[in-house]
Amino acid sequence: MSDIANTIPTPQRSAQIKRSSAPILGPGFKALFYKECLRFWKVGFQTVVAPVVTTLLYLLIFSHALSEHVKVYGGKISYVEFLVPGLIMMAVLQNAFANSSSSMIQSKMMRNLIFILLPPITSLEIFCAYVFGAMARGLTVGFFMWLLTLPFVPWHAMVPNNPLWVLAFAMGGTWIMGTLGLIAGIWSEKFDHLAVFQNFIIMPLTFLAGTFYSIQTLPALWQKVSHVNPFFYMIDGFRYGFFGVSDVNPWISVSVVAVFVVLLSVIAMRMLVTGYKLRQ
């Protein structure tokens, strides 16, 4: 057995009192972000491959069933071309939410959240680590989706007309969903609560956000209803990045996304700073 006494810098032999590092996003953030990424990567079949396969099935079924019957944007692009960016964004959003929400609720239920509450990690670091981890998973799923849909559509349709818009909506959308997932995870006291969030809020809003159709094909009332769905702006703006065509002005969409980014971030930060349902 080695001589442990020679290896331990103790209060008497080294600096007696330790000081934490000062950067805004310090080592605690890096470690927690790494842990969040490692967590979903370790179960990649469940967290990346499965959603990609599920979304590809949506593509096969909907494109086969509807491509002959649905005209979008006055026939400027085919239905399959229209469908793919929407499906990619839907998968990106749902997986970003799933990552932060499941990570938080599992840590709470298994009570191992203590491991990140004991170290000198700030609320901002926890927030950023969870949200960036969610963004990483959402964007990973989106990238593989994009790659695997290339054989199904003309390649020129899958090269974004304006990559900056694509990037802005992908980043903004995953930020919103990662934050929403964090809020849901903190608020939920059991898996049932999270299921309510997922099945009655996230799922309907993503499905009714114009993923499978252009809202211009809807009756006037439902068009108005769609305009109060924030997910619609994320998907419509993302699609604009690919085709340069959208149901609403992309600047309106990006403004809505920005408002929700700020609003949800403030709520999540408030929960973390006050220790809501985290610290007694």
Binding site: S2, A5, T10, P11, K18, A31, Q280
Partner: protein, 313 residues
């Protein structure tokens, strides 16, 4: 500056800590004006029956629970206003057996080191694994470990950033005797090198053997705070356990039924033992078996907390 003239900052300083929790019948006062100080380098025991407030006190120190009033400092850093520095100086082994099922033992320790900003922790993690007899399990998933092994990983997680103050909340619960001895020799070595150790345990003989000072909590209040030696001195005398069908009427108030089924008495000396045995004879109660012992921390604990032995057995 003459360093000898500068008073050393206390490892842990608790002043007027109060905490209540709501329950169905109103509020339960978990901690009621708790004040105590633990000096650097001390091996300190925090004892008390279940529900006395030990874990709540540790949670407040660790920043997991917010006190209603009062202040807590670790190495001079306030746990609320200077929480980052306070937590950097503190390592806590939680009572609850918790783990993250996604990671291996080594990954768990590496992540915990990184949370504290420890760089190049591999060599130290190797040392911890060796001393906690976990080297062969380094690549095993946390789910695959026994309860005792998980407990040792928790100890490792608390030590991974080499904190000056280490709080161990029931660290040996579920750990077998041999490994318990290894763990204590490791902790004693850390203490001898200057680390402050704060311990809660149900094994009172451990606290008696290891700790220089003891605080006893009851119903959220400190009922005793003294050196272990002084507490034992206050319990001078002998203890007697008598197996019998009853206790003599005159001794009912002094002899409580213990977990073993025997009646336990604390006597001032052997002269009083003769009186006790005479009382048994007069009452025609047959003494089936009798054991004598010196006063220990358990007696002090029972006396001060006025609880039956069943609670701590």
């Amino acid at each position: 500056m003459n360093q000898a003239s500068v008073p050393a900052v206390a490892a842990v300083e608790l002043v007027g800590i109060r905490k209540s929790f709501p329950n169905a019948s109103g509020n339960v006062q978990a901690l009621d004006d708790v004040s105590l100080s633990v000096e650097q380098g001390e091996f300190f025991a925090l004892l008390g029956p279940n529900g006395a407030g030990k874990t709540t006190l540790i949670s407040i120190l660790a920043g997991l629970t917010k006190a209603d009033s009062g202040s807590a400092c670790v190495m001079g850093f306030n746990t609320v206003h200077e929480y980052r520095d306070a937590r950097t100086n503190l390592g806590v082994v939680p009572q609850e057996l918790v783990f993250d099922p996604f990671f291996t033992v080594r990954e768990t320790l590496e992540l915990q080191a990184k949370y504290y900003g420890v760089k190049n922790a591999s060599a130290w993690i190797d040392e911890i694994l060796e001393h906690l007899d976990l080297t062969s399990k380094a690549k095993a998933n946390m789910r695959a470990l026994s309860g005792g092994m998980k407990r040792r990983v928790l100890v490792g997680q608390a030590l991974v950033h080499k904190p000056p103050v280490i709080v161990l909340d029931e660290p040996t619960a579920g750990v077998d005797v041999e490994l318990r001895q290894n763990l204590w020799s490791f902790i004693k070595r850390l203490n001898s090198e200057g680390h402050t150790i704060i311990l809660t345990t149900h094994y009172l003989e451990e606290a008696e053997a290891l700790c220089q000072r003891v605080a006893m909590l009851k119903n959220g209040k400190v009922v005793a705070l003294d050196t272990t030696a002084n507490l034992l001195r206050g319990m001078s005398g002998i203890t007697v356990q008598i197996s019998a069908d009853a206790t003599p009427p005159a001794w009912v108030s002094r002899g409580g039924m213990q977990a073993s089924g025997a009646f336990g008495y604390t006597l001032s000396g052997y002269a009083e033992l003769e009186s006790l045995l005479a009382a048994y004879r007069e009452a025609n109660i047959v003494v089936k078996e009798m054991k004598l012992g010196e006063a220990d921390l358990e007696q002090a604990f029972l006396k001060l907390t006025s609880r039956s032995a069943e609670i701590i057995s």
